[in-house]
């Protein structure tokens, strides 16, 4: 394999996944991953452009950022690309009125969206709100529609909480796809539009950007398909088998964000 300096040459912007890279969510909000608070601070002091690119769909950006700030992270809402605002834009553009299968903590993102007489379903990481009853309601809405539209905020399989791995929205998206015979439109990673929008805000070309995430398919595979480079951290949902994934090979595997930042700063174009 190429040396780190070859692999990291020309990087000008860094996209950081949040859950599993910065912190692990869990009871009481969650805990920072050791070294990540300092790593973010060091990155932001460097000449690299930094943006946070998350599929977090259990809480609003405001709540997420507030939590991360309490954990010690230097982060503001304007630095976060998240799927809920992107979905709202799509809903408005297409005149869609969603039935929302979401967690209460993210409901505020949809405050300005008309949800009367729904003509689509939006599904997010609803966690405990993924009851049979709520799933059934979403299913019934879709079955009533002549052209069922299902919008999913991300399609992750699972994520890491302090108590262990947790089912993510992707599993429930697949359940509704299967039940209704539809294909969901995914807003969030790994959709190329989502990565592109984050790059655009940063003002960095894909080939100058690197994604750091814990999801081999959603973060690493998705970013690479957009022409970016990508590192996988061995934190969060990382499992050793990820390093032998049949389809996706990261540009590098690092123990955690701190190691990724060490390498980036060490090999930064002088």
């Amino acid at each position: 394999m190429a040396t780190w300096s070859e692999r990291l040459a020309g990087v000008r912007g860094v996209l950081l996944d949040i859950s599993g890279v910065l912190y692990d969510s869990g009871a009481g909000g969650g805990v920072p991953i050791p070294g990540s608070v300092e790593a973010v601070a060091r990155l932001k002091q460097s000449q690299l452009k930094v943006r946070f690119c998350t599929n977090e769909s259990q809480r609003s950006r405001g709540k997420l950022v507030g939590l991360l700030q309490r954990l010690g992270f230097d982060i503001s809402e304007g630095e976060v690309t998240a799927p809920a605002p992107a979905a709202c834009q799509i809903l408005k553009e297409r005149g869609l009125r969603p039935h929302l299968l979401i967690h209460d903590e993210i409901r505020s993102e949809f405050d300005k969206i008309d949800t009367s007489n729904p003509n689509c379903v939006v599904i997010a990481d609803a966690c405990d709100a993924f009851s049979y009853k709520n799933m059934n309601k979403a299913f019934q809405v879709l079955m009533e529609l002549e052209n069922p539209v299902l919008i999913s905020l991300g399609k992750g399989r699972y994520y890491k909480e302090t108590s262990g791995l947790m089912l993510d929205v992707g599993a429930y998206m697949k359940a509704l796809e299967y039940a209704c015979g539809v294909e969901a439109e995914v807003v969030g990673k790994p959709s190329p539009e989502f990565f592109q929008s984050a790059l655009q805000v940063m003002g960095v070309e894909a080939h100058q950007a690197i994604m750091i995430g814990d999801d081999i398919v959603g973060d690493v595979g998705g970013a690479q398909r957009c022409g970016m480079r990508a590192l996988q951290v061995r934190t969060g949902k990382f499992r050793p088998s990820d390093e032998h994934h049949p389809e996706v090979k990261a540009d590098g595997y690092v123990d955690n964000l701190a190691e990724a930042v060490d390498l980036l700063l060490q090999h930064l174009d002088k």
């Binding site: 019934q140 699972y158 039940a179």
Partner: protein
């Protein structure tokens, strides 16, 4: 495709075909009697996993259907045999009423997941437990993968979507034991002494009843009761051998054209 032979066996679905929950399909009891008056063997095959065989039988008796226990073949029976064959201790995500069919099976410290239609268990924390077992390598046994079923208050999600969710999350495939699996239909025919080419299946689920049966070489008749929705017959290729209004019409067709 094997050449068709004289019809010897008729497999009949229960919920949605003979009855819809606690109401018989009009004329179904008489039609069953007419069918029994001919020379064919009749078996009742069901993916209704909510209830044990005993419950099914009681309901059918209440609705005045003339059916005996050994004529019923359910996906629960099929799941139990697989658990015994694999010698595993399952986490049972099945309706409490189905538990009698798993009497004597060890379920402590589970190393497998058996999933049926269990709305009361299909909440996030329970599914997450199942998910973690599967990630540790436990096999996933699905009693069936039906997408949805008909309730009095409308269509409701079947176990299939939840099986699919667990499959996707863990990148594994469930072993499905109910309809539309080939082994299910072959097991149901075992003991009748009939070949698939000598049998017909009647059901309201185009994919699971009709498609599944036709895949093993049986004829499939789709009835427009229960969960049937307009244009369902276009969901499978080849299309159903016959689509008709209800079970009595299917019986009439068999008596007039297939014997």
């Amino acid at each position: 495709m094997a050449a068709r032979r004289a019809l010897k066996a008729v497999l009949v679905d229960l919920n949605g075909t003979l009855h819809i929950e606690d109401a018989a399909v009009p004329g179904a009891q008489e039609a069953l009697k007419r069918l029994r008056g001919s020379s064919v063997v009749v078996r009742f095959v069901t993916n209704t996993t909510k209830e044990s065989k005993q419950d099914l039988l009681e309901r059918l008796k209440k609705l005045e259907f003339d059916i005996s226990e050994d004529e019923i073949f359910t996906s629960l029976t099929a799941a139990r045999s697989l658990v015994e064959q694999k010698q595993v201790r399952p986490m049972l995500l099945v309706d409490d009423r189905a538990l009698p069919d798993f009497k004597g099976i060890h379920t402590n410290d589970p190393n497998a997941v058996v999933i049926g239609l269990a709305p009361e268990h299909f909440h996030y924390q329970i599914l997450n437990q199942a998910f973690r077992l599967l990630l540790d390598g436990a096999p996933l046994i699905a009693i069936h993968k039906a997408r949805y079923y008909k309730r009095k208050d409308g269509l409701a999600l079947g176990p299939g979507p939840f099986v699919t969710a667990l499959e996707y999350a863990t990148d594994t495939k469930a072993t499905v034991v109910g309809k539309p699996e080939k082994t299910f239909f072959l097991e149901a025919l075992r003991g009748t002494g009939c070949e698939p080419e000598e049998a017909v299946m009647i059901g309201d689920d185009c994919r699971d009843d009709v498609g599944g049966a036709q895949n093993v070489g049986m004829l499939g008749i789709l009835v427009k009761t229960g969960k049937y929705r307009a244009a369902d017959e276009e969901k499978i290729n080849p299309s159903p051998y016959l689509t008709c209004e209800s079970f009595p019409h299917a019986v009439d067709h068999i008596l007039q054209h297939l014997l």
